[in-house]
């Protein structure tokens, strides 16, 4: 008995050893660069010491939760948390419906060539980095010499400090986010729209339904599952934070609203060497994100939608 299993395993390995050779590099990669860092998470519960390994460092006070308590009594962290939530919520409210509307619009375009051109152009900003976009924005919105303010002043309005005053900065930040991603995010909706049976549209036009009614009664219900899955995923990311976008667009004048968790971790952790505190902050954020994602996914599956896991 034993011998045949061993023999069978030997045969299996002789046929498939190359697969394991192929996998060895990626798996090593995941272990070294994704899993070993996880052992460093314990720094959040320990007093960081440059000269000791993570396993040897001394435990932090308050049953190891010293740095979590410190983080939550830290004003800057509090603001970073608030800003993360605020900017993500605004992004959701403005940025989520935008690609749906654009996809509906593109779908209604009667001229195929023009549709192709439009798509090519609106996808393009997705491929620009936030550094480039901040370069574009600084020039476009420059206080006196930028295009937008030149035009505003010619029309008799006051110049607007788009990037140098907190409220205006938030609006500009959200707008640039839509500018960068709206086109790209239509792809998934357009793909869903192609899946809708053309017969439905024919039947509707026989019944005399106009364009708006076709959109409302056929196209929108047709992409509803996609909308729900994407909405849930977006909700799951509500406490996540990008780094490049707020870091590139922010400046000293708007620190109060542009500092988010990721930039807080960078400035206080890597620049300021407060490793235990910022590891605790990062862990808090990761855990909340996983909980939100799992929760959102369960809700999606309960409502009969395909989950994301």
């Amino acid at each position: 008995m034993e011998k045949t299993t061993i023999k069978r395993f030997g045969l299996y390995m002789r046929q498939n050893w190359t697969l394991y050779v192929m996998l060895s590099l990626p798996i090593t990669f995941f272990i070294v660069f994704r899993y070993i860092p996880m052992t460093y998470i314990q720094i959040a519960f320990k007093k960081f010491n440059l000269f000791k390994s993570v396993w040897e460092m001394e435990a932090a006070g308050n049953y190891g939760f010293e740095f979590f308590i410190k983080a939550f009594s830290n004003r800057d962290f509090f603001y970073a948390l608030r800003n993360t939530l605020l900017l993500n919520l605004l992004d959701l409210v403005v940025g989520f419906p935008a690609p749906i509307i654009l996809a509906l619009l593109l779908n209604e375009l009667a001229f195929k060539m023009f549709k192709r051109v439009t798509q090519t152009v609106v996808y393009m900003p997705h491929f620009l980095s936030w550094i480039i976009i901040s370069g574009l924005a600084l020039q476009l919105f420059a206080p006196t010499t930028g295009l937008v303010n030149i035009v505003l002043q010619k029309m008799g309005f006051e110049a607007v400090p788009f990037l140098n005053e907190p409220t205006h900065w938030v609006v500009t930040y959200i707008f640039l986010g839509v500018w960068q991603s709206v086109g790209w995010n239509t792809i998934i909706y357009l793909a869903a729209i192609t899946g809708i049976s053309p017969e439905l549209y024919e039947a509707a036009s026989v019944d005399g339904a106009g364009r708006l009614r076709r959109i409302w009664h056929i196209t929108l219900p047709g992409i509803k599952p996609t909308i729900i899955v994407l909405l849930i995923m977006a909700l799951g990311r509500i406490l996540g934070s990008e780094f490049d976008r707020p870091y590139a667009l922010g400046n000293n004048l708007v620190k109060g609203v542009s500092n988010v968790i990721s930039t807080f971790v960078y400035t206080v952790g890597i620049r300021g060497s407060q490793f235990s505190l910022t590891t605790a902050v990062g862990l808090f954020q990761s855990v909340i994100c996983v909980i939100f994602l799992a929760g959102a996914n369960t809700i999606a599956e309960k409502n009969g939608e395909r989950g994301i896991f």
Binding site: Y12, N16, T18, L19, L23, L25, P26, I27, F29, F30, R34, Y35, I36, P37, T39, Y40, I41, L102, L105, E108, L109, F111, F114, T118, T120, V121, Y123, M124, F127, S129, I131, I132, L136, A137, L138, Q139, L140, T145, L147, I150, W179, G183, I187, I188, A191, A192, R211, T226, Y247, A248, N251, V265, Y266, T279, G282, L283, Q285, S286, C289, V290
Partner: protein, 290 residues
């Protein structure tokens, strides 16, 4: 189907809206191109809108004669090529074995890989690991730690799954092992997806900023173009403030700033339309099915 007059008017209204959207998408780029080609004086007098005023290429000449910029552009280009090649290799090596249903340990491998999509150790643990590995201030730190994207791997795996099993079996009957099946059957059939993923990796590296910012602070010759551009934009900010006190000529630096942004944009604008026909197929494939 014959359209009513109202429907035709509506068609043109939609076209009009799309023209406005196209205009808004292109406006910042046209503006910066115009600024990069205008004279310093015209920039200062707020004359430049969509067309260069007092056309000249001084800003470009200045950048091309400054070794700091040319070195960084060259280095970023080399880095992009190396990273794309390595990433594609790793992605293929990871995706292909996972389509074998009889692969022992497949579920463990899958779970292990997918888990990293939802939970990561975080900025600081990653930083400390790279520090312990001695990779800070090293060119490898911009190549290895992000050389495999799970998202891209899943796109490729979904595509591989879509290739009929019978082709694989036929290749095996011919005596091909997994490796030759991959080279002779799977890769030739996946060129559109491979092109798409290469584009994603290449753009990601060309645009990559935060890893360089965090891991490379002193070794200036390793600064990729995005980091150089960021530093330039930040410096300009302080110079902007200085000019209000009347210290420097802002026009010159404005033009250089615009030209540097152009250098960062142009490679993307060149590559992007060439690959555009591929990536839509690639994205919808992985994006919807996950």
């Amino acid at each position: 189907m014959i359209k009513s007059r109202g429907a035709k008017i509506a068609d043109w209204i939609i076209v009009f809206i799309c023209v406005i959207i196209i205009f808004v998408c292109l406006l910042p780029i046209v503006n910066i191109a115009a600024r990069s080609l205008s004279s310093a004086d015209a920039l200062m007098r707020s004359k430049v809108i969509l067309w260069p005023v007092e056309f000249n290429v001084d800003a470009y000449a200045k950048i091309l004669s400054d070794v700091k910029y040319t070195r960084s552009l060259g280095w970023t280009a080399i880095l992009t090529v190396i990273c794309t090649a390595l990433s594609m290799f790793m992605t293929i090596m990871c995706a292909f074995p996972l389509i074998y249903n009889n692969l022992k340990g497949k579920r463990v491998f899958n779970a292990m890989i997918i888990f990293t999509m939802y939970f990561s150790a975080g900025t600081i643990p990653n930083y400390l690991l790279l520090k312990d590995l001695g990779l800070l201030e090293n060119a490898l730190v911009m190549i290895i730690p992000n050389c495999l994207s799970v998202f891209n791997m899943i796109i490729l795996r979904s595509f591989f799954y879509g290739i009929p099993e019978s082709l694989k079996e036929a290749a095996e009957l011919e005596g091909c092992g997994p490796f030759r099946t991959l080279i002779n059957v799977y890769l030739p059939l996946s060129t559109p997806t491979l092109a798409t993923l290469s584009l994603f990796y290449a753009v990601g590296r060309w645009n990559g900023f935060s890893d360089a910012l965090m891991y490379i602070t002193r070794t200036k010759e390793l600064f990729p173009i995005q980091l150089l551009l960021y530093n330039l934009l930040q410096n300009m900010m302080s110079i902007d403030i200085a000019t209000q006190e009347g210290f420097t000529m802002p026009g010159v630096t404005e033009g250089v700033k615009a030209a540097t942004v152009m250098f960062a944009i142009v490679p993307i604008l060149i590559v992007y339309p060439l690959l555009q026909r591929y990536f839509i197929a690639g994205v919808t494939l992985g994006g919807v099915k996950g």
